[in-house]
Amino acid sequence: MFLEIQGLRKIFIDSDGNEAGLAQLDLEIAEGEGFSLLGPSGCGKTTTLRLLGGFETPDAGSIRLHGKDLLKVAPHKRPIRTVFQKYALFPHLSVFENIVFSLRMSQKSEAEIKMASDEILELTETRHLLKRPVGMLSGGEQQRVALARALISDPEILLLDEPLSALDLKLREKMQMELLRLRKKLGSSFIFVTHDQSEAMVLSDRIGIMNNGRLVQIGSPQEIYRRPTSHFVATFVGTANFFGTELTPHMSGNLELLPPKQFNAIWMLRPESIDLRPLGSSLRENELGVPVRVIDTAFMGQEWLSKVQDPTGATHLVKTPGHEPLPGQDGAELLMKWEYDDTWSLQNENSPA
């Protein structure tokens, strides 16, 4: 295996006296893979990144790269580079000296520096920035310089700490594409740490969701989104609607809902899988329906976002295409329908059992 993390642990006491950090992590990452650690703040994702980069020493566990113990390698000799959240460019050096810093540290010859820098300047489109002082770069330009600086020595693993959080929306979308392109071109593994789910989905082959210092689910973006294994993942990634009912495979028709508390398993439904139709509309095979009342609707451009209430009193969010007319005025009684295949069953963490 390329990168193998086993039983990794690093606990520290935060300012409120609570334990924080990484409780336990087991993870394997493939060569050239894009992997995101996604979770709320304080979930241990940044601690993981700092352990990999060698900025912290673990309490327990091992990190192996190509089977070799990475913890025995001095941090500055690991074939791992980090792109810091706020880039941490050196203000006393020119853009060029920032980019070639790692080559200078390993005393490479001028010819080697020239060759490596030519390639990376091309790849990261930073050549036009060379003459500018670091302080005069925009956020996006700093990001490119930070990437060039980290990638110039051809690391096997690139760690990126919230790489796009400091950029505005347009630039973020552009840089996402750039990062994908760079990773494919260079073949290095990119490990992202982020709390932004859309960033994680766009950038990675697999996502690891973290909570309370542990990995709670690993999977492709589609698996994480469509097949979450816990209530936490279902609600942290995207928006989830839950309802309780007796549901048997491939049933269809109008459902009678009961308060979710009574069930050991609850059903999850994503807002965009739902359609709102006039009451009494016919249901096709495989389709399920529940009567609801519209509470509120907002126009989001691409879609209508409606909040509806089912007969048990639970509310659900529904996304319907923006090019269709308003699904219903506030207070309107409608039929909420969806296909059986779009439902996903989860262990009910609030059940009495």
């Binding site: 980069g53 060698g54 900025f55 941090p75 500055h76 000799k77 791992i80 580079r81 980090t82 810091f84 706020k86 941490a88 460019l89 050196f90 203000p91 006393h92 050096l93 020119s94 000296e97 810093f101 790692s102 200078r104 540290m105 390993s106 002082p133 670091v134 600086r149 980290a150 020595s153």
Partner: protein, 275 residues
């Protein structure tokens, strides 16, 4: 309306600035003009000063005896500056990394001695040297003077460096280490160039006052060690050769300003090159 207000300082502003200028003119420019006038006079055998213009005082300064005193003083000040910087750099770095009560304690330990009387500090150092620390006969020797100077001026080197380290993004060191910099390279490639301005300030804060320092050589050095400060004291109070003393002050000031200008030039040059 706003623009014109900004251009013409109001009466209040002028009034507020007057004491400052009065202070500078009365206690800095004025005395210096008087001193430079004195430096072109000559001492008469009866200890009074003739008002006839002459370069006699400057000619006498070139005497190897006096030149030796000047060079010895500059060398001592330089040694003190280097010693202070070497001690202050790691101290200030560690202080800036401390947190909470530990940081407050470290700062107090630096600042409290500064608040005590200079004389008391010197007598304390003298008592300490009398104990023959490190097995050396410290009192009335040049190393003893250097020790006392360093003890007195160290805070002036620590504080500007501390302020600079305090402002620095700690991630820069992590970034450099991540990019393969060894501990040594972290100091030479990141910390020193990054805090160059603070190092210059610290050096000046120590160097300039220690060139003219006279209490420390007089007390810790006894009567055996002769430096600029003692020389001046001697010329003005004992030998009553005011022209010679004044000439030395003018020369010192000239050398200091020249040195400052060169430093400035070097600093702005290397900053531009770096940027």
């Amino acid at each position: 309306m706003v623009a014109s207000k900004r251009k013409l300082p109001s009466l209040n502003t002028t009034l507020l600035v007057i004491p400052l200028y009065a202070w500078i003119i009365g206690f800095l420019v004025g005395p210096f003009v008087i001193l430079s006038l004195f430096s072109f006079n000559t001492r008469l055998p009866d200890g009074t000063t003739s008002t006839a213009l002459s370069l006699e005082a400057y000619r006498r300064l070139l005497d190897p005896l006096y030149l030796g005193i000047i060079l010895r003083s500059l060398a001592l000040a330089l040694a003190n500056t280097v010693l202070c910087l070497l001690l202050a750099f790691p101290t200030a770095y560690l202080m800036a990394r401390l947190r909470g009560p530990q940081k407050a304690l470290a700062l107090s330990l630096i600042l409290i001695p500064l608040a005590t009387s200079f004389l008391i500090r010197i007598f304390a150092v003298m008592d300490f040297l009398r104990l023959k620390p490190f097995g050396l006969d410290g009192l009335y020797t040049v190393p003893g003077i250097l020790f006392a100077l360093c003890y007195n001026y160290l805070p002036y080197a620590i504080l500007p460096l501390y302020a600079s380290f305090q402002r620095q993004d700690p991630r820069l060191l992590e970034a450099a280490a991540d990019l393969g910099a060894s501990r040594r390279q972290l100091v030479t490639r990141i910390l020193i160039p990054l805090h160059k301005s603070a190092i210059f300030s610290a050096a000046l804060f120590v160097f300039i006052p220690s060139t003219g320092e006279y209490l420390v050589p007089a007390l810790v050095g006894g009567s055996r060690q002769f430096f600029i400060g003692n020389f001046l004291q001697n010329q003005f109070l004992t030998a009553r050769n005011w022209p010679l003393g004044s000439a030395l002050i003018v020369l010192l000031l000239f050398l200091t300003l020249l040195g400052l200008r060169q430093l400035r030039r070097y600093e702005s040059f290397s900053t531009r090159k770096g940027a």
